[in-house]
């Protein structure tokens, strides 16, 4: 039976030190954000970093809890921020690793180390269009096959691509005649 530590065995700074140790030259910056350690690395170091983080005896980041991305379209050349969130159950630790990517670039898949990446990376691919090199089956997962576009990109309209233009409420507001409107109000009030 695996019994987790009652409290974290490392401080946030200590976790960052270990990540820096493993990422070496690829480690760009580290900070403690809302109590969580956040390490920014260059994506080239990733394939080796995943097993290193999992097997490090002080960290033991056994679970890849979450993979997701944020789209920053104005940040040309590094539009995507991909983030991996890890937990160590043994040591009761949490860590976030982020990397910036250019639009269209691909990033190493974590599926060789963490099976949870099988679904999580497919979701990121589906909704952002980010490719994970080495994923055994990088297909859409939530949207139907053949769907065009990646909805969580900022340029993707919230209403969807097929929403009829004249049904947009802003257009409807423009078409309302103020005189008709106030006449209706007067009628309703009996004045």
């Amino acid at each position: 039976m695996l019994v987790p530590a009652a409290s974290p065995t490392l401080t946030a700074e200590g976790i960052l030190d270990r990540i820096q140790h493993h990422a070496a030259g690829a480690y760009l910056s580290g900070r403690v954000d809302h109590g969580d350690p956040v390490a920014e690395i260059s994506s080239a170091a990733l394939p080796a970093l995943f097993p290193a983080l999992r097997d490090d005896s002080e960290l033991k980041l056994e679970q890849l809890v979450d993979v997701t991305a944020v789209h920053w379209p104005l940040d040309v050349g590094r539009e995507f921020q991909v983030l991996w969130q890890f937990r160590s159950l043994t040591n009761n630790l949490f860590a976030r690793v982020t990397a910036r990517l250019a639009d269209g670039a691909s990033v190493a898949s974590a599926t060789g180390t963490y099976a949870s990446a099988l679904y999580l990376e497919r979701e990121v691919f589906d909704l952002f269009g980010i490719r994970f090199a080495g994923h055994p089956n990088l297909a859409r997962i939530l949207l139907p096959e053949g769907y065009e576009g990646h909805p969580l990109r900022k340029e993707y309209p919230v209403e969807g691509p097929t929403f009829p233009e004249d049904a947009h409420r802003n257009d409807l507001v423009g078409q309302l005649d103020p005189d008709d409107f106030w006449a209706d109000v007067d009628e309703a009030n009996g004045t």
Partner: protein
Amino acid sequence: MTVESGMASARVDLERGSGDNMILNMGPQHPSTHGVLRLVIELDGEEVRRCDADMGYLHRGVEKLLEVHDYRGGITLTDRMDYTSGPSNNMGYLMAIEKLMGITDEIPLRARYLRTAVAELSRLAAHHIWLGTHGLDIGAMSAFLWSLREREKILYLFEEACGARLTTSFMRVGGTGPHDVGDQWLDNVEAFLHGYTLDEIDALLTENEVFIERTRDVGMITQEQALSYGLTGPVIRGSGIAWDLRKAQPYAAYDLVDFEVPVFTEGDVYARYLVRLNEMYQSKRIIGQCVEALRDLPLDAPSNVDLPQVVPPDIGRVPVDMEAMINHFKLVMHGVQPPPGESYFGIENPKGELGFYFVSDGTGMPYRCHVRSPSFVNLSIIEEISVGSLIADVVAIIGSVDIVLGEVDR
């Protein structure tokens, strides 16, 4: 051979079925898939050779929608994800925003206890749905009827506290919001706890030979698999890992109440059944303690933080107090505005770790909100553990992993 299935066309390469193997399309309209999950199963006789899950039939783009709703408006979307435990989802969302704003430590004790009590009530309700449908899948009809009867009583308590049974939108950022409860509600909860018993369901299933035959040594998940697949919640505690966010990183009032984390090491469907069943006894214990603590708090104990930029003023003050009116106007027009930054917060939902990752740009709407849903991650193990089992066992396995498709697809 290809199978067309309407909107979500077959993503699974059915050509790979080899020899005399049969391809079976299970779902999306199949009662045992608990919603609209579709499994494409390759069968050799009755034995599963390969299993591919197909999902997304309930995809509503919740993460995109959260980007165009203010923080308060997003609450209504969260209880539509895991609709079996709406209030618990609301708590996760609210506490993630509070962490983003750095006001977690300022939440008054009253709100913390009430959140804990309501989250545990919704855990009971969710586990009752699981218990009933899991039993039903395996052929135990009475457990279903008795389970839903108990759940109904919990839904009445939710309705009394906030006006809704399922889509509760319970509480607000900074405390209980308008949903503080009175002594009458606490009386009703106590009456419910007094009459609440699991013993009859327990007696029906736990020692039932047919039930044990169907669940023991079925759907084995090893410790290594549980870690690698990122499993959380009762599923991981059925594989001998005593991980529970309520204990490991306590939030709300979980550090102030006594409870145990049930763990079983076998890793089969039966172990996961025992984990959830024992969890329900613990939930009952926690709710009792919270009600007691809420009674002991002074009558004028605050239930919201004293921050005008987070909590609207008392509505009676708005017409007579200029400052209150300004605060009210600002909150209605612009909403809560967390400072720019990012944060992640996860809670122990009935299904596992429900996490919200927020990126704020300082405005009233999140720049990005990602939902780490436990059902989605837990579902991924089904493709692996159902291989080699019988087709009838797949039904037991799906039930034991306990997924809600509203949360898988979001």
